[in-house]
């Protein structure tokens, strides 16, 4: 007997989004001017500052990096989306151990954010999963801040990490489509919509990836859950 269940909702495309801010490349005095930060922080985020033990300019860039990460995450699902920091709202941003964690509102589903603040760099990543299972993220400093060097360094770094992940998770390569015998063929290119994709030869793998760079830092995230 056939029944009528709930309509099946289309599965949303898996995604990832990250960002990095090199604090030495920012202007703290300018960042702290209302004319500047009011283009990034909503009223509720400005009120939340008192709950976060950070210099104000670091807080502004922390929020920026979370919002940029969320934008990249959603851009993959909604090509053509315009980055509008004030329409992305961060709720409950607070420190938890070595990380700052928050919930990002303003989209179809909330996203969860994790950020790490080191001496002069802020790195963020977002996920629909509060546990971040399957989301790998990292960053590194580089010798040169030129665009070409940033672009090359971040690709080399993320592919190196990804190869290690794929070799450790042999069973899930059926889902991603990766061929372990030719991992040196992995490359990253931009999709027509502008976000990066991972190719193996001419095949596109089902591994969403996000890249970021600022000054002498590069960062990456990718989503590759075990099955």
């Amino acid at each position: 007997m056939m029944g009528y269940g709930r309509p099946v909702e289309p599965e949303r495309l898996a995604s990832t989004g990250n960002d990095i801010v090199a604090l030495k490349a920012t202007q703290p005095e300018r960042t702290c001017r209302p004319r500047f930060y009011s283009r990034i922080l909503t009223a509720s985020e400005q009120e939340n500052y008192s709950r976060v033990d950070l210099p104000f300019d670091h807080y502004v860039w922390l929020c920026w990096s979370v919002k940029e990460s969320a934008y990249k995450y959603r851009q993959r699902q909604q090509p053509g989306l315009v980055f509008s920091p004030l329409k992305i709202v961060i709720s409950d941003l607070q420190r938890s151990g070595d990380l700052y964690q928050g919930i990002v509102l303003g989209g179809p589903e909330p996203l969860y954010s994790r950020s790490s603040i080191r001496e002069d760099v802020i790195v963020s990543v977002v996920s629909e999963d509060a546990t971040f299972t399957g989301t790998c993220w990292g960053f590194q400093s580089i010798a040169s801040g030129s665009y070409a060097d940033q672009s090359l360094a971040v690709r080399v770094s993320v592919l190196q990490e990804l190869k290690a992940t794929l070799l450790c998770q042999e069973s899930h390569n059926l889902r991603t489509g990766a061929d372990l015998q030719s991992l040196d063929d992995l490359q990253i290119q931009k999709d027509a919509a502008g976000y990066p994709v991972i190719l193996q030869g001419d095949r596109r793998l089902s591994i969403p990836v996000s890249l970021a760079h600022h000054d002498r830092y590069v960062a990456w995230s990718y989503y590759s859950p075990k099955v």
Binding site: Q27, R35, R39, I40, W64, S84
Partner: protein, 83 residues
């Protein structure tokens, strides 16, 4: 101020945030600030604030969202100047 004059002034606004000066010299209305000029997204607020100072205008949040290409920047600036 016509569009050509706005474009020439806009090049000065974008200059501190653009690594490839040759590319900047040859921009046209279709040039994308992030994709083509490789301006870091963290500098987009700087560009808006510098443009406000350069043209003595105020760019509201809704208008700033539209400033993606050189042409859309000129549209917004032109509209605010002639307001």
């Amino acid at each position: 101020m016509d569009r050509r004059a706005i474009l020439e002034e806009l090049k000065k606004v974008l200059e501190p945030y653009t690594e490839n000066k040759e590319l900047l010299r040859n921009i046209d209305e279709n040039t994308d600030l992030v994709k083509d000029l490789k301006i870091n997204s963290s500098n987009l607020v700087d560009v808006i604030i510098d443009a406000e100072a350069k043209y003595d205008i105020e760019i509201d949040f809704d208008s700033s969202e539209k400033m993606i290409t050189v042409g859309s920047c000129i549209d917004v600036i032109s509209q605010k100047i002639n307001k």
